[in-house]
Subunit: 209 residues, 2 copies
Amino acid sequence: MTADPSRRPSSPPNRRRGPGRPRGGSDTRGAILEAASTEFASHGYDKTTVRGIARAAGVDPALVYHYFGSKEQVLVAVLDLPLNPAEAVAGLLREGMDGIGERLVRFLLSVWDSPAGRTRFLALIRSALTNDAVADLMREFFTREVLSKISKAVQAPEPELRASLAFSHVMGMAVARYVLRVEPLASASADEIARLVGPIIERYLIPSP
Amino acid sequence: MTADPSRRPSSPPNRRRGPGRPRGGSDTRGAILEAASTEFASHGYDKTTVRGIARAAGVDPALVYHYFGSKEQVLVAVLDLPLNPAEAVAGLLREGMDGIGERLVRFLLSVWDSPAGRTRFLALIRSALTNDAVADLMREFFTREVLSKISKAVQAPEPELRASLAFSHVMGMAVARYVLRVEPLASASADEIARLVGPIIERYLIPSP
């Protein structure tokens, strides 16, 4: 599934049966994704609701929860993300703040260094940086589902600003490594990068003694 | 002048008089810029020469030096940069390493926070992130003229990797602030940002005691 939220289908497929009617499994899932892609592109992340996605897909909201579990997971499927960033960050935070920077960087590089992860990252960042609707969608999603979790874990003044700066660094690191291919960052091992960047990220998240 | 190095003119203007002939001032400067734009887009920064630009423009290389002073300055003019990043970094380094992080961030924000600076940054970063030739050009320019100067000033192991990571952070900060508009980074004052990011950048450039 590679639905692009910036591309609204001119004639929505899979909507021939009308609202509320029962439908087959993969067909229904596809219809929900197609409808969600349009809803997210039109209304952004915050204002899109599971109810609105269901209405646009012509299904009961319970079916959206059945297939995806949450609005967050619907967007992860629409954007074809290799993982749910909100769940990944929650998992890292559950392991505690000790060494969180290095664990975060190692984890992100393990995703992005894979050919599929890199391809998906490149497509998404290019889309976000050239299409305001995609940028709005990504910002709202990351602010609400990812940065809020990080902010809550920051034990220092200005936790939200610190979280957004840590986010900006890992994103900039990825853009420099994968898009601009600045050396030696582009060729450095995940290990070398994590050792240098990890403590820097931690300095944003954990107050220095 | 807003020549886009990714756009090769289909029929080069100002080349009717043939190589080596004398020509008027602003006309010559424009012809050099037009030729340079094509040369940089075709060959990248490293392989483009002042001699090659002069030949493509049909002028003597001395005229290129007369109008621009260096290949570096020709690219700054082609990209319509509000300033020469290489000269700016050299100036900051001349003031010493004490407080270099905060001075660097304050300086960059003073450029990018202005409407003209922000517009130019947005255009360039979008161009670099969607056009491989522009990405190659920017990478070669920044590596050769900017990051090399920073690397030389780093008194720590892996100076080049540290310089590229510091670069990735300030670029990511700008993308998050101006393109994705992640809050509270997008609305924070230059002062708030410089106080937080400055010491972080310094940690890349100066070894901790």
